[in-house]
């Protein structure tokens, strides 16, 4: 091959080299979704006395029954609803929050590492920001919009990333309601005893009953309470699986968000055959790991062959699920799902479900 024939390849390789360099270093133009967020957590309205950690009036803690896996982080969550305002809960699965609503979630790995913040601004858009707690102590300040990779060590090995604003949006803009983990099922008093990593509701937590009693939910109370009932399932294990998938996967994999074209619905909705069963059980996966063809999202009775379990059990970037927010497999949830596929979903059960 002479030099002339090598030129196109050389040019392409050079381009690729530039591209690789750009990929490694460029921060690009991050969307300015944190614009307007205060520089200090203390100025977001969370605390009455930031140094003492005293919450501001109207800020309430809550504890969802199916938590999101975050590589073993200990979490605390708070919400502020503007005085006199109510949540539009006419769709009990997709609450819409009044302007001025604020949420905070604190992540700890042996020490406080970050507190994430979202606020519904006057124009109706949601603002996202996260505040990093210095390892040496002191107040939390806003992280760069691009996030912080490897911000702290975790017990499970991989280091924890403080998310970019874009990462916040990738998860929170996957369904009509931008808030995850704060809805009828998550705030229900009828807690699932098998929910992985669940924490019991704490004294003073804001829950569904209080929201209803205080008139903070607009919509039919009967419908809201029905949505808060335990997940309809054929076994206790299936209840926990469907609830876990709802909390960890349903934010993106649902029928109403940008990924609805995938036809995979892991968001739980009462009153129909669980969408996870309808759209995954015996259904061919669009993503075929390892050059396979015909692999099923859930292969009844065969966890190893089920793409859903394979992706939950991987932390190789293009394969892993969820695709962001975690670097360590949730072994508890994975084992729960694998047992469900292997044991509960015997082929006879699957056939009955598909009818």
């Amino acid at each position: 091959m002479d030099t002339r024939t090598l030129l196109p390849l050389a040019a392409s390789a050079a381009l690729a080299g530039l591209v690789l360099a750009a990929g490694a270093c460029s921060t690009g133009e991050a969307p300015a979704a944190s614009r307007g967020a205060p520089e200090r957590l203390a100025d977001t309205g969370l605390y009455a006395d930031a140094a003492a950690g005293t919450l501001a009036p109207g800020v309430r803690a809550f504890t969802p029954q199916y938590p999101l896996w975050s590589d073993g982080a200990a979490k605390r969550r708070w919400v502020y609803l503007p005085e006199g305002a109510a949540i539009d809960a006419s769709d009990p699965e997709a609450w819409l929050f009044p302007v001025g609503t604020k949420f905070w979630k604190e992540f700890s790995f042996g020490r406080r590492v970050e507190t994430r913040y979202m606020e519904r601004a006057a124009d109706g858009a949601w603002l996202f920001a996260t505040y990093v707690w210095p390892a040496e102590g002191g107040e939390a300040v806003r992280a760069p919009d691009a996030g912080l990779r490897g911000a702290c060590a975790t017990e499970l090995g991989p280091r924890h990333d403080v998310p970019s604003v874009q990462d916040c949006r990738a998860c929170h803009e996957g369904r009509p309601s931008r808030v995850l983990g704060f809805g009828a099922l998550q705030l229900s008093a009828e807690r699932d005893p098998l929910a992985p990593h669940a924490e019991p509701a704490k004294e003073g937590d804001l829950d569904l009953a209080e929201l209803l009693a205080a008139g903070r939910l607009q919509g039919s109370p009967e419908t809201i309470l029905a949505a808060a009932r335990p997940v309809e399932a054929r076994s206790a294990r299936e209840r926990a699986v469907l609830g876990t998938l709802h909390a960890n996967c349903g934010g993106c994999h649902n029928a109403s968000g940008p990924l609805s074209s995938l036809g995979l619905e892991l968001e739980y909705r009462r009153g129909e055959l669980a969408p996870a069963l309808r759209t995954a059980l015996g259904v061919t996966s669009r993503f075929q790991p390892g050059g396979k063809t015909g692999a099923l999202r859930i292969a009844p009775g065969d966890a190893d062959a089920s793409v859903l379990a394979q992706r939950m059990g991987s932390r190789f970037g293009p394969l892993q699920m969820p695709p962001l927010g975690t670097h360590a497999v949730d072994q508890t949830a994975l084992e729960l799902v694998r047992q469900w596929i292997q044991t509960d979903l015997a082929p006879a059960v699957a056939v009955a479900s598909e009818r």
Binding site: L9, L20, C252, L259, P289, G290, G317
Partner: protein, 182 residues
């Protein structure tokens, strides 16, 4: 001038102004998309290369259809010293510290390409560097850190052009992890 004449002129002027400031027509979008795709190097990786009479060149019959499913790649050679990246002669399979990546099928085939994608899916993917804007990360050598800086109109034009080219059924393999670990 009669009142009706004034109305007619007004309507014509308003129409001209509206046309001048309206979004590009579909035809103009496709043309701009073709221009960007051909000048930004998309073809270099998303069409498999083959040896032709003038040396290596993209296979026109597989234009922008990504790494051929029929081209099953052996494991990539081990990296040595500063040589951390290797690339197949087809230019559609790349190996490096991220594992092995295969270039995507950009044709409008419903099952294996972008046929079911919306314009917003495409923009979100390139803007965020994630599949459909919120899924798995795009891998090197995809230059999304540069492409993400394009404006929406340019990204929409690329999408319009890609939707106008012939659909080719070609299921590109999924990426391989580095060292075979899952």
């Amino acid at each position: 001038m009669k009142k009706t004449d004034l109305i007619v002129i007004g309507v014509l002027v308003a129409g001209a102004v509206a046309y001048a400031f309206s979004p590009a027509t579909e035809e103009a979008r496709v043309a701009r998309g073709r221009y960007i795709v051909s000048s930004f190097g998309c073809v270099d990786c998303h069409s498999p290369w083959q040896m032709g009479p003038n040396g290596p060149e993209p296979d026109a019959a597989r234009y922008l259809s990504g790494h051929p499913a029929s081209l099953v790649m052996p494991d990539a050679p081990a990296a040595a010293g500063p040589w951390i990246t290797s690339v197949a002669a087809s230019m559609t399979a790349w190996n490096g510290p991220w594992g092995t990546s295969f270039t995507a099928n950009l044709t409008p085939d419903d099952e294996t390409g972008l046929g079911k994608w919306s314009e917003q899916d495409f923009i979100d993917t390139l803007r965020n560097g994630r599949h459909l804007g919120r899924g798995r990360e795009l891998l090197p050598p995809m230059p999304f850190p540069a492409i993400r800086n394009m404006n929406d109109e340019d990204l929409a034009s690329i999408f319009a052009y890609l939707q106008s080219i012939p659909a080719i059924s070609n299921r590109v393999p999924t990426p391989r992890p580095p060292g075979g670990a899952q």
